[in-house]
């Protein structure tokens, strides 16, 4: 693990409407490259809002969000889109896959929107298909499933395919937004272990969002949003 900074947040303030109480007010937050962070917080605590700010979908009212040395608040929308495509892998809670694409096509999808990720994938395996197969194999998707429709996969398998997709082309960091909440306990742990393996191998940082405290011990660092967010509590009643 090195000491380069992945994410540095300073004096970040965000509210959904002007002249209304803030949803987020984070004086400082730093995540180093290669770190695996467990981000927790009760539902409505502003987790999704924070992710929106980090990914550049939401626009901060004030403050600074620096990712890999780029100031996100100063980038144009187009530049943010490119930045995200090149450096971020994303895993949703569930239904991550496009039902009309094959497993391989689903996994290699990010390489069609980012030249740098495509280049890295090709460098690793020679072809996108090979790289997708390699990742799927590492994530323990049996080769027999490769030609099955996505919809025939179990949810656990689908989430692992989604992880392979987020990992392809080695982005700098990965955001997993409650990816295990629809899995049973055994599947959760094995999913996280596989994910960790791949992240370690490729030196990918991981921001893992969850409200399941049982997973917390697996992570080296825990961030409780309520503790770092000065605006916490203001909205908890109705958001």
């Amino acid at each position: 693990m090195n000491n380069k900074t992945l994410l540095r947040i300073q004096d970040l303030k965000f509210g959904w409407r002007e002249n209304q109480p803030l949803t987020l007010s984070i004086p400082a937050l730093t995540i180093a490259q290669g770190e695996k962070v467990f981000l927790k917080g009760p539902s409505g605590s502003g987790k999704s809002t924070l992710l929106g700010l980090i990914t550049g979908i939401n626009q901060a009212a004030s403050g600074s969000i620096e990712i890999l040395g780029s100031e996100m608040t100063k980038l144009s929308n187009k530049a943010k889109d490119h930045f995200r495509a090149d450096h971020l892998g994303y895993i949703f809670q569930q239904f991550n896959l496009l039902p009309y694409l094959s497993l391989i096509e689903n996994v290699s999808l990010p390489c069609h929107f980012s030249q740098s990720r495509k280049a890295k994938a090709l460098q690793l395996s020679g072809s996108l298909e090979q790289e997708a197969k390699r990742l799927l194999d590492h994530l323990e998707i049996p080769a027999a499933l490769l030609h099955r429709p996505v919809t025939e996969l179990s949810i656990g398998q689908q989430q692992r395919v989604a992880a392979a997709r987020a990992l392809i082309g080695r982005p700098a960091f990965l955001i997993a937004d409650e990816p295990t909440s629809s899995l049973d306990t055994d599947a959760r742990e094995s999913f996280i272990k596989l994910l960790f393996n791949e992240c370690d191998q490729a030196d990918i940082s991981l921001i893992f969002v969850s409200h399941d405290p049982s997973l917390q011990p697996l992570f080296s660092r825990h961030i409780n949003l309520d503790e770092i967010n000065l605006a916490a509590g203001a909205h908890n009643g109705h958001r």
């Binding site: 929106g52 979908i57 994303y90 949703f92 896959l97 496009l98 999808l109 997709r165």
Partner: protein, 418 residues
């Protein structure tokens, strides 16, 4: 993977609605092209009916009326032209050839045209095509008849058969000229014009069967076949006549002198001009047809708009996934435009295919029932333009859902709503 390929796969995933949308567009395209084709073909058929004739002369009436009864054999003449006048006019040095027409009788609903051998020499249709015989020869005896292709086919007539002509033009007549049956001596090749539905006999034949009918009904003293040589069969009146001039320059001069003919109220028309006027009277119906089929296309495309728009909400997840793997809002926009474009192009193609399938089925029927020859030709420039407009409109309509999806993907980002 190109966005178009993604659009194709996404559409395939929703193939039932996609196919229905394509069918709706295809149907409207078939209708549009079909109407267009029938319109131009009918027009062409009309224009092809008479060619190379400089003037049509008949009793003074409307020019469309004269054209209808003389050339199209629709309706009846209001008055006749005397043989004397006919002779007088064709003696004009400007006249190169003339073909007299005598109408008023029929056989089983098919008009009988009394004329001369010159008819087969000078009457031209289509692109200056001559009449050709499929069988037999041209008439040369008063009771010889040359029949059109349709008459022969429908009534199953062949050369050598005898037919009886009825008085008047109705399909069923109570007074038959059965004293003088006619012999079919020739059958013409199909022309796609009213000639196919005509029985041609010599003027002398018309005169012979009306011998003793001076007051419009049989008065006794009708001719028998063996008497034909004993009487003069020079006609006293004819219905109309066609003129060919030695020089086109003289057309207007001769037309004016005929229109100002003092001895008898006759008129001369230029067939091309009369055809135009005839066609312009049908313009309204023609326009209405086009407008209706245009609206059908619009409703087909609106159907597509509706399907795509309603699908958008269900597809917010798809959009969010695409955004999460790095697709920009512009990609989402292109994806939806491509989708609309693919549907429109598929609809247009299927429309063309079903048009030709339909033509294949309709072609013999149209010839059989209406005598309209529908050609099985390639798409015309105009039809291609229409298709291009439909496809362009499809893409244009795609802008609406594309814009909505663009906005949605901007605001939703990677959050999956719904």
């Amino acid at each position: 993977m190109a966005i178009a390929k993604l659009a194709l796969k996404s559409l395939y995933n929703r193939r039932v609605t996609a196919i229905l949308t394509v069918l709706a567009i295809a149907l409207s395209v078939t209708l549009l092209l079909g109407v267009e084709r029938v319109r131009t073909q009918t027009k062409e058929n009309f224009a092809n009916t008479i060619s190379s004739t400089d003037l049509v002369v008949g009793a003074r009436t409307g020019q469309v009326q004269l054209l209808l009864y003389s050339v199209f054999r629709i309706g009846n003449a209001t008055n006749n032209v005397s043989w004397q006048t006919y002779q007088d006019i064709i003696n004009n040095p400007a006249v190169k050839w003339s073909v007299p027409f005598s109408l008023g009788d029929a056989h089983k609903g098919y008009r009988v045209l009394g004329t001369t051998e010159d008819y087969f020499k000078f009457y031209k249709y289509g692109k200056k095509q001559d009449l050709e015989l499929a069988n037999g020869a041209v008439f040369n005896y008063p009771t010889d008849a040359v029949i059109g292709a349709e008459v022969a086919r429908k009534l199953n007539y062949s050369v050598g058969q005898k037919i009886v002509i009825s008085h008047g033009s109705a399909a069923v007549s109570f007074s038959n000229h059965d004293n003088l049956p006619f012999t079919i001596v020739g059958i013409l090749k199909p022309t796609g014009t009213p000639v196919d539905r005509t029985i041609h006999v010599p003027l002398s034949g018309i005169e012979a069967i009306h011998y003793g009918w001076e007051s419009g009904s049989p008065q006794g003293g009708q001719l028998q076949p063996e008497q034909l040589d004993q009487v003069s069969l020079e006609p006293k009146v004819i219905t109309a006549f066609l003129l060919g001039l030695s020089s086109k320059m003289q057309t207007f001069m001769l037309q004016r002198s005929i229109n100002e003919y003092r001895e008898e109220a006759i008129m001369a028309i230029l067939p091309g001009v009369a055809l135009q006027e005839l066609w312009s009277t049908m313009n309204m119906a023609e326009q209405a047809l086009i407008v209706v089929s245009g609206f059908v296309v619009v409703s087909g495309l609106l159907g597509m708009l509706t399907t795509i728009l309603t699908s958008l909400n269900e597809r917010r997840r798809e959009m969010a996934i695409l955004r999460s793997v790095g697709a920009r809002p512009g990609h989402i926009f292109t994806l939806l435009i491509a989708e609309a474009g693919i549907l429109a192009i598929a609809g247009a193609l299927l429309g063309v295919i079903s048009l030709y399938t339909l033509l294949l089925i309709i072609q013999p029927l149209a010839m059989d029932m209406f005598g309209i020859y529908v050609s099985f030709s390639m798409l015309t420039h105009y039809e291609l333009t229409l298709l291009a407009i439909v496809v362009a409109a499809g893409f244009l309509i795609g802008l609406v859902p594309a814009w909505r999806a663009y906005r949605m993907s901007l605001s939703d980002g990677m959050t999956i709503r719904i």
